[in-house]
């Protein structure tokens, strides 16, 4: 999809929406309103936004344990997403899923997944569905660099490649796998290398540069939509927060984090790009940030006001009990 000024503004806004949503979620965690595992996406915004800016509403995405950003970039509503993190009845998943399972099926956001690499098979399966139906929908599977070691990565991509499915595999290589540095547990530096095992294109891009991500994905999405099969795109990125609550961050220095925040921040980088093209005035920038901030505040209010689910809710949605066949 061509990067117009209009699209760029939307992308810039989405990056802020993710950034501010995540920072607020973290604050709410501190307040005890959000509980459980909370894997924050700050620092990686250019990936979700660079990818989803190429997608139609009816395209599919599947996420990871770190998926608030994917959902928001694909169009999920902030209020219901926040309410889900709060475990409230108005959450996208009625409070039953939480951070690791946020999903909005109405937008073909199949959702976060608590199993590392758990989404690659199902994501590829949505592409199989599109192929059978001869629709021109495209599917995107997000996954972390750690996920690339799992067998399901290998099996899913093998089938995606075998049947030339309309799917784009997007690796968010943030250099960490929970509390360990990638280089201590991985055998190849770039996940894109692995594309060779599947005979599909593999490219590595700067995940802090939303334009670079957008363009690489644009090509891959077009290819997929034309029925020419999958691609593997690695975006090199970085996460600002710890893996999730309880991370002592012994595996990196504060300086390292500071360096990325200062010199490679995806929002700053994109702002500079837009300013250069005179696509963004200072005033517009302020407006975007203010509006986003207000959106987040409203989302928190919504989440706070939403009811705690009634305990009878725990017993529903196991299977569809209304369904019957006649003998």
């Amino acid at each position: 999809m061509a990067l117009t000024e209009e699209l760029a503004k939307k992308m810039y806004t989405d990056m802020w929406r993710i950034r501010m949503f995540e920072e607020e979620a973290n604050r709410q965690l501190g307040l005890g309103n959000v509980v459980g595992a909370l894997h924050l996406y700050c620092g990686e915004e250019a990936v979700a936004v660079g990818v989803c800016s190429n997608l139609r509403d009816d395209d599919y995405i599947v996420g990871t344990h770190r998926s608030h950003g994917h959902c928001l970039a694909k169009g999920a509503d902030m209020e219901h997403t926040m309410a889900e993190l709060f475990g409230k009845a108005d959450g996208t998943c009625s409070g039953k899923g939480g951070s690791m399972h946020v999903a909005d099926l109405s937008l073909n956001i199949l959702g976060a997944n608590g199993i590392v690499a758990g989404g690659l098979g199902p994501g590829t399966g949505t592409a199989l569905a599109s192929k059978i139906r001869k629709s021109d929908q495209v599917s995107v599977c997000f996954f972390g660099d750690g996920a690339a070691a799992r067998g399901t990565f290998h099996e899913a991509i093998t089938m995606g490649a075998l049947w030339n499915l309309p799917v784009v595999y997007v690796c968010e290589n943030n250099g960490f796998q929970q509390w360990v540095r990638r280089e201590t547990v991985a055998v190849v530096d770039s996940v894109a290398t692995m594309a060779g095992s599947y005979g599909i294109p593999g490219v590595s891009v700067d995940g802090q540069n939303v334009v670079e991500v957008h363009e690489a994905v644009s090509e891959a999405v077009d290819r997929a939509r034309r029925g020419e099969g999958p691609s593997l795109i690695e975006a090199r990125t970085y996460r600002y927060f710890g893996h999730s609550p309880g991370d002592l961050e012994e595996y990196r220095t504060r300086d390292e984090v500071e360096d990325w925040r200062t010199n490679r921040d995806p929002i700053n980088t994109f702002r500079a790009y837009m300013e250069e093209r005179q696509w963004l005035t200072e005033r517009e920038d302020e407006e975007i940030q203010e509006a986003t901030s207000a959106e987040v505040t409203k989302a928190v209010k919504f989440a706070e006001d939403s009811a705690v689910p009634g305990i009878e809710e725990a017993l529903t949605d196991v299977v569809d009990t209304a369904w019957r066949v006649e003998a």
Binding site: Y60, V62, G91, T92, C93, S94, G95, K96, G97, H101, A103, D104, L105, S106, L110, G111, N113, G114, I115, G118, L120, G121, P122, G123, T124, G125, T126, A127, L128, A129, S130, I132, R133, S139, G151, T152, H154, E155, A156, T158, M159, L162, W163, T316, D317, V318, V319, D320, W323, R324, V325, E326, A327
Partner: protein, 323 residues
């Protein structure tokens, strides 16, 4: 009515459902070649070449893709060549397929059928003879279906394909060639409805899969002892029709639960515990379980035949429960 084999019943169920609904498709290893090891998907490739996928050897991938296709509104019928290999895809079954509806607060539906040829076949030892229904029963969100006759096989598979939730469909290899009467017109069998396959007064025998046939045979032999047994076939283990089972046990006062799988923490454990709790006052003797001992399946035919429960074992158990 026509007399057909269990395999033919499955075969025609798949063909009928594929004709009826474009969203039904087949995926699995060797499902095109020879129509799969049990020829159940024979001919599908000719009629629906775009709706059958012969895969690499990658069970986790196969089930994973099936889950995704189902989430996208398709109705995959997955063949796992031997049930034993589903162990390679348990995350996909348990953490993905089974929980998706729940975790999304009811948004998602995963209408996937996983066909699982199981049990002792032609003596292929410990990694090719397992059953494990009790595993699937224990997982909320999974439906567990165990047909024992061609008629049930057809009616239950057609229902499974239409179900909005995942189905683990057990196919005992040794009964693929067994024959039975099947209606010629279209029919479905609802889940959660046990069938009383023989009426009797003296004891209730609950049979799972091939143990239904063996229990019926036992019923004939036991007539010589003057014992008239009732044979109940749950047909689906989850949901489990506790009403029909309990009604029978309340009538007879005695129950034997028979499965081919090993008893320890098996299917019979749930059924026996349920009966012992629900029918406590009516029970005149302890519920007896018949099953395989707690051992892997040995290779040697002599050994394998010695551990899989036989008609005699049912007869003995009934005698004990009545004695």
């Amino acid at each position: 009515m026509s007399t057909i084999t269990f395999r033919d019943a499955l075969h025609s169920a798949i063909h009928e459902e594929m004709a009826r609904d474009d969203s039904v498709f087949v995926i699995g290893e060797d499902v095109i070649a020879q129509g799969g090891p049990y020829t159940v998907t024979e001919g599908v490739v000719d009629k629906y070449p775009d709706r059958i996928f012969q895969t690499p050897i990658a069970e986790a991938g196969i089930v994973g893709l099936g889950v995704g296709a189902a989430l996208a509104g398709m109705r995959p019928v997955v063949e796992i060549m031997y049930l034993d290999f589903i162990t390679c895809a348990m995350d996909e079954v348990v953490n993905q397929a089974a929980k998706m509806r729940y975790m999304t607060g009811g948004q998602a539906s995963v209408p996937i059928v996983i066909r699982l040829p199981c049990g002792l076949g032609r003596y292929v030892a410990a990694q090719h003879s397992q059953i494990m229904e009790s595993w699937f029963m224990h997982v909320p969100g999974l439906q567990v279906v165990v047909p024992s006759t061609p008629k049930d096989a057809k009616g239950l598979l057609k229902t499974a394909v239409r179900s909005p939730d995942p189905v683990m469909f057990m196919e005992y290899k040794r009964i693929y060639t067994s024959e039975g009467e099947v209606p010629d017109e279209e029919f479905l069998i609802p889940f959660g409805e046990a069938e009383v396959k023989r009426e009797g007064e003296d004891a209730t025998v609950i049979g799972i899969g091939p143990m239904v046939g063996k229990s019926l045979e036992a019923g004939v032999l036991l007539e010589d002892d003057g014992f008239d047994i009732e044979v109940v076939d749950p047909r689906t283990l989850s949901p489990l029709d506790t009403d029909t089972i309990c009604e029978s046990v309340r009538k007879t006062g005695r129950a034997v639960v028979c499965e081919e799988d090993s008893s320890f923490a098996g299917t019979g454990a749930e059924i026996a515990a349920m009966i012992a709790e629900s029918c406590f006052k009516d029970l005149q003797a302890p519920v007896i379980r018949v099953g395989m001992p707690h051992v892997p399946m040995p290779f040697a035919p002599s050994l394998a035949d010695s551990v899989v429960p036989r008609v005699d074992d049912v007869v003995d158990a009934v005698r004990r429960v009545i004695a």
